[in-house]
């Protein structure tokens, strides 16, 4: 694809067979790799395989300038990924596209509506007082992940429940898990439960407990009819009952309890500690919203108990609210001296409070490692999602229609290819064989590489990509035409085939490289700049342009060299496409060339 270089690749002229063998080996290797990897068809994009595709665009918010950067986008992808896969969705795909878009592809057969609801919204982050907490073990009939642990209901079990078998959900839990802690503070904790979750929140003390949390009279589902209890008071019987039945190891249950919760109501929730054990909670109404956290940082504490900790800065309102809640919680018994940091309905951390914190600043210490601290800081400072997203487009595609489109595209491609072949045969006759063989090699390479790119770089063949591939037939065929025309021009000058083939090549090569470079440049620019469907198209175009060069250099040219030795072509058979008579070479011309050529001022092999 580089600028044309002269005099390169003399070797191919000398040993065409070797080059051919090389490309055939490459082809066999690619095909072998394809079968070895178990992917024999290209990964189909959502528009062909069916499913839902959601495009989210990051929005710039006032006071959040420069927030749209790579780190934040990646964090957002991470979080959205956890959310979508937390639905029990398998193979949902979240990826950034361009600098400010996130594409979420949810394969067919999942609850697209629910996913849609979860994906775009900025996560809900709340600080809720803990009313009750227990390690959660599978309840009777809990289907998933409960190997042998058939303990009755909510009886605290000393044996950790093995993580739920559902992989996606495990991932989901990781977030909470990260903030989990390895009991360093346990001694300091007045906790009587055998948990290792406690973490202290320390800062200046000021005491001004006020009842907070406006009571809500909005109707709610399930656990809501109860009058709002005092945040730290006894939960309603209904909640108690729900709490007792709660089995956090069941992902379905976890998803269910997240539905319809309101910040103003006490809720039950689940959270995972650092040992991958689920804890269940009754939480009071939200006292502080995550929005009130201005900033949170993971810092390395050099004094005192050296280690990573998370510091938070609250807004004015937040500082007051936080002061209130910590004041209330400070004197209580564990676990009621803890507050749960709840993201998207799941408790990610539940530090305990030693004193009221009113300075508008607080820190959570414990034995974090760096990643854990950073994760928690991220969650705190961004309200989980670092950016606000807007739903740009939602596409649901049924596999039936997608398949039909693919079929139509393939039929169209096949017909297009057939037309091209017919045209080539009609015009180039025998030479068309070489063109067709090259097109075949090109197609095989494209197919195998696309297939292999599926698992490696998540390349998915979507409809625009199919279009790109079909259009590429023209680009590929063009290279042959350039070369063939050159050869014919050489023959018109009276050369025999073998020298003609060699002399035509450097010129044709130059033209092919220059024009392919322009094509590739267009594809590359489009790929870098654009998003979504356009990008898929550009990728295919770029790939096929590259392959075109490979095929012409390593297949067409050597094959042509070999064919030039065959009598059929060399003798200029009527059907070879190289018949001198048909090409307009006449003996007198040849004679005249011989005599006058030396006088020619211009390079003799113009065309």
């Amino acid at each position: 694809m580089a600028a044309p270089k002269k005099g390169r690749r003399q070797g191919t002229q000398g040993k065409p067979g070797r080059t051919l063998v090389f490309i055939l080996i490459a082809l066999v290797a690619l095909t072998g790799g394809m079968f070895l990897s178990g992917h024999t068809t290209p990964r189909l994009g959502i528009d062909l395989a069916g499913g839902t595709s959601i495009t989210l665009q990051a929005k710039n918010e006032p006071g959040q300038k420069n927030a749209i950067n790579e780190t934040n986008m990646n964090t957002a992808v991470d979080i959205i990924n956890k959310r979508v896969n937390g639905l029990g969705v398998s193979e949902a795909e979240v990826q950034t596209q361009g600098s400010e878009n996130i594409i979420v592809n949810i394969p067919k057969g999942t609850n697209a509506k629910q996913a849609r609801a979860q994906v775009g919204t900025t996560a809900q982050l709340f600080f809720r007082p803990v009313i009750a907490r227990q390690p959660s073990v599978p309840v009777d009939g809990g289907k998933k992940g409960d190997k042998g642990d058939k303990d009755k209901k909510d009886k605290p079990s000393s044996s950790p429940t093995p993580g739920a078998s559902d992989k996606g959900t495990d991932k989901d839990g990781d977030k909470g898990d990260k903030s989990g802690d390895k009991s360093k503070d346990e001694s300091a904790s007045p906790s009587s439960t055998p948990t290792t979750q406690g973490r202290s929140v320390t800062d200046g003390l000021k005491d001004e407990p006020t009842p907070s949390g406006k009571s809500s009279d909005k109707p709610q589902d399930k656990k809501d009819e109860t009058p709002k209890p005092d945040p730290t008071g006894a939960p309603s019987a209904q909640l108690q009952e729900q709490f007792a039945k709660l089995d956090c190891t069941d992902p379905k249950v976890r998803t269910k309890i997240k539905e319809g919760i309101k910040p103003t109501d006490p809720v039950v929730a689940c959270g995972k500690d650092s040992d991958d054990n689920w804890n269940k909670f009754i939480l009071g109404p939200s006292e502080v919203s995550g929005k009130e956290v201005d900033d949170a940082k993971a810092v390395f504490d050099t004094q005192g108990a050296a280690g990573w900790k998370v510091t938070m800065d609250f807004s004015k309102t937040g500082a007051k609210q936080f002061g209130d809640i910590t004041g209330k919680l400070a004197g209580k018994q564990s676990p009621q001296n803890e507050f749960g940091i709840v993201m998207d309905g799941e408790v990610v951390s539940w530090p305990f409070v030693q004193q009221a914190l009113t300075g508008g600043q607080a820190e959570i210490s414990g034995s974090f490692d760096q990643d854990e601290a950073k994760d928690l800081a991220n969650i705190l400072s961004y309200g989980a999602l670092p950016l606000t997203f807007k739903e740009q487009s939602v596409t649901t595609v049924s596999a039936a229609l997608g398949g039909e489109q693919l079929r139509a595209g393939l039929i169209a491609g096949a017909i297009g290819l057939a037309l091209v072949i017919i045209y080539l045969v009609a015009y180039y006759r025998g030479l068309a064989l070489i063109a067709i063989a090259s097109l075949g090699v090109s197609a095989a390479l494209t197919y195998t590489i696309m297939t292999l790119l599926g698992p490696t770089i998540k390349f998915a063949l979507n409809l625009p990509a199919v279009c790109g591939a079909i259009v590429a037939i023209g680009i590929t065929a063009d290279s042959f035409i350039v070369y063939f025309e050159r050869i014919r021009d050489e023959i018109r000058e009276g050369r025999t085939l073998r020298p003609a083939v060699e002399r035509a090549w450097p010129r044709a090569r130059r033209t092919i490289l220059v024009s392919d470079f322009v094509s590739f440049l267009a594809a590359a620019v489009l790929f870098v700049v654009t998003v979504g469907k356009v990008q898929g198209f550009a990728f295919t175009l770029g790939l096929t342009t590259l392959l075109d060069v490979v095929v012409v250099f390593f297949f067409t040219k050597p094959l042509m060299t070999i064919m030039a030795r065959k009598k059929f072509f060399a003798s200029g058979h009527k059907w070879s496409g190289l018949d001198p008579k048909r090409l307009g070479v006449t003996p007198p011309l040849r004679r005249s060339r011989r005599t006058s050529a030396p006088a020619a001022p211009v390079d003799p092999k113009e065309a």
């Binding site: 649901t396 595609v397 139509a408 680009i475 322009v518 094509s519 356009v534 307009g584 390079d603």
Partner: protein, 377 residues
């Protein structure tokens, strides 16, 4: 085909040829006319923007016998917005409703499913915010600008700045024509259209570059001779690559036509159709512009170069001298201007550089064949 092959040979030798460069004014005129038409169409009629640019939802249903009017009614009732339903080639329906949000789209979908007696899951819904298309378009413009800058730099290095400039003008010309056709005919502009339009970038230039490559070669030692002006050489290179241009255009258009007429016929409106339609128009425009616009432009630019001006003078002077000398023996040898304006492509021998530039390519070459007129027929 053999005739075509022969034609190729004669084109190659410069025995036949169309005087593209000489008649450039006609083609410039046509192009300007087309461009103006395109602009007027764009102003007056505007582009028919697809739902992706306006915001709304598109539903694609499976095969159904329900009429489009009924479907329209159902959709309008469910959405409260105006709906356009189209029956596609394969008995499926495409229903387009603007100003629909997520919740409504689900509602409409289930209503439609009920009416059509199909599963809601089998109805494709494409829901887009108004800014989605804009964003694609913006990115496309951005890509276009970056590409143009890069390609001009590249062409300026690989060839020369005049060619780069001409190629750029030809490219803009192609895009204008394509957009104009869209405005005139009223095809819907969708992201697919944008994709197609962007592909024209590479393709239009591909064609141009091949001609330029040949031109660059043929004009390599131009200053050292006095037989041909730059314009004549340019014309020669167009003619000598004409067969290739025709072949590649045909070969490029065939698969696209396949996509357009067959793929489109199967499915009616859709991504395949959108892409292939704009490609088809753009490819045709690209082939036209590389032959009729880009290369003549290069010739025009180049003729302003002092060196080339001097060359032209020398060539003309020499020709006049030759003509004066040979006057008695043969018909008035065509002088350069006359050649450029002659209708008959067959006697433009002096206007083109023969491959071997042997005697045949010289004004007097035909003497030996006893055709005093200079025509070889």
């Amino acid at each position: 085909m053999s005739k075509l092959g022969n034609l190729g040979a004669r084109l190659y030798r410069g025995e036949v040829g169309y005087d593209f460069v000489g008649k450039r004014k006609i083609w410039y005129g046509i192009s300007i006319l087309i461009t103006i038409t395109a602009f007027v169409a764009l102003m007056v009629r505007g582009l028919h923007m697809g739902i992706e640019f306006e915001g709304g939802a598109v539903f694609n249903t499976p095969k159904t016998s329900v009429s489009s009017a009924t479907a329209e009614e159902v959709a309008e009732e469910a959405s409260g917005h105006q709906a356009i339903a189209q029956r596609l080639g394969n008995d499926t329906l495409r229903i387009q409703i603007s100003g629909v949000d997520t919740d409504k789209s689900d509602h409409i979908k289930s209503e439609l499913a009920k009416e059509l007696d199909v599963k809601a899951d089998d109805i494709n819904a494409d829901l887009v915010g108004p800014s989605w298309g804009d964003q694609i378009a913006n990115k496309a413009w951005q890509g276009l600008a970056i590409f143009m800058i890069l390609v001009v730099i590249y062409l300026a290095i690989a060839f020369e700045w005049r060619m780069a400039l001409a190629a750029l003008i030809a490219l803009i010309h192609d895009l204008t024509i394509t957009v104009g056709v869209y405005a005139l005919v009223g095809f819907e502009v969708t992201p697919g259209t944008v994709i197609g339009l962007l592909t024209i970038l590479g393709y239009s230039l591909y064609d141009t570059v091949v001609v330029f490559d040949s031109l660059k070669e043929q004009s390599k030692d131009l200053a050292k001779q006095t037989r041909f002006t730059y314009s004549e050489v340019a014309n020669r290179s167009i003619n000598s690559t004409l067969v290739r241009s025709i072949n590649t255009t045909v070969v490029a258009l065939l698969p696209v036509a396949g996509l357009l007429f067959i793929g489109g016929g199967f499915l009616g409106a859709g991504m395949l159709n959108d892409i292939s339609l704009s490609l088809f128009v753009g490819l045709a425009a690209g082939a036209y512009s590389s032959i009729f616009i880009a290369t003549p432009l290069v010739a025009d630019f180049k003729e302003t170069d002092p060196q080339m001006k001097a060359l032209k003078k020398r060539v003309l002077a020499k020709r006049r001298a030759a003509a004066a000398k040979g006057e008695s023996e043969e018909a008035p040898a065509p002088d350069a201007d006359a050649t450029e304006d002659t209708e008959d492509g067959d006697d433009t021998a002096p206007a083109v550089v023969g491959p071997r530039s042997g005697p045949r390519a010289q004004p007097v070459r035909n003497r030996g064949r006893g055709r005093p007129s200079g025509k070889r027929r």
